[in-house]
Symmetry: C2
């Protein structure tokens, strides 16, 4: 059994939820693609591959995945939210071009550390964060 399937089973069990074909299909579709996609993209791709899962189920499954840190939700400021899986990928944040919508990832450990310090200082238990830079990308300038 693949590592990802294993991971899904664990999380579902932890949440007291059942392991179903639909949930596996959704997780599988998300984890085998490295793009930033919205629910409809994911739904349509599944459908194109002959896997009929309802949109509602995609939403419901993603909620669980997001809550359990397997998927990151990305509010890109306009239109539907986008999602990306977090397996085998180092943590990163995003730069979003307000002209062409292109999303670029960036990593900065110093920022991460400072962030942790701030949270500690306020006795705030950090669960997740959003750090997005909006602007004009190199190509659009």
């Amino acid at each position: 059994m693949s590592k990802n399937k294993e991971k899904l089973k664990m999380v579902l069990h932890k949440e007291g939820l059942r392991f179903t074909n639909q949930r596996e299909a959704v997780w599988n579709e998300i984890v085998t693609c490295d793009e930033h996609r919205n629910v409809d993209d994911i739904y349509m791709t599944l459908r194109k591959n002959g896997i009929l899962v309802s949109r509602a189920t995609v939403y419901r499954t993603i909620d669980v995945l997001v809550k359990n840190n397997m998927v990151r939700k990305l509010d890109v400021g306009v239109g539907p939210s986008k999602f990306e899986h977090k397996m085998n990928a180092p943590h990163h944040d995003h730069m979003i071009c307000i002209q062409c919508g292109r999303i670029e990832e960036f990593v900065d450990d110093q920022i991460e550390n400072l962030q942790d310090s701030v949270a500690k200082e306020y006795e705030f238990k950090l669960v997740r964060h959003i750090h997005q830079l909006f602007g004009i990308c190199k190509d659009c300038q």
Copy 2:
């Protein structure tokens, strides 16, 4: 004429928009309150004070104010966006409690600087950013 009124006039002029009672009323309502409020909060307060401005106009005016850096839009992850004015207030980011919804502000110049460096490195022209820490606040723990 107050400094804030002056500022609004300038921005509207720059945008090729007219200075109207409604736009002044919305800006005034926002700039004289230091809380994080959504469009409906602002609309209802105006209405309570006998100032009848339509919801659509509040949305439209806020768009202009956000675009011109007079107001910050805050996506709090659930429900409608909140807004706060940016006059006389040093730049800050937000910690949002996912339990009680409380919003706390924090300032960290080092993070701001690092952020600028990252943008520079990618030749990305930074227009604005979102940096939000989600977690459990001191009181909710």
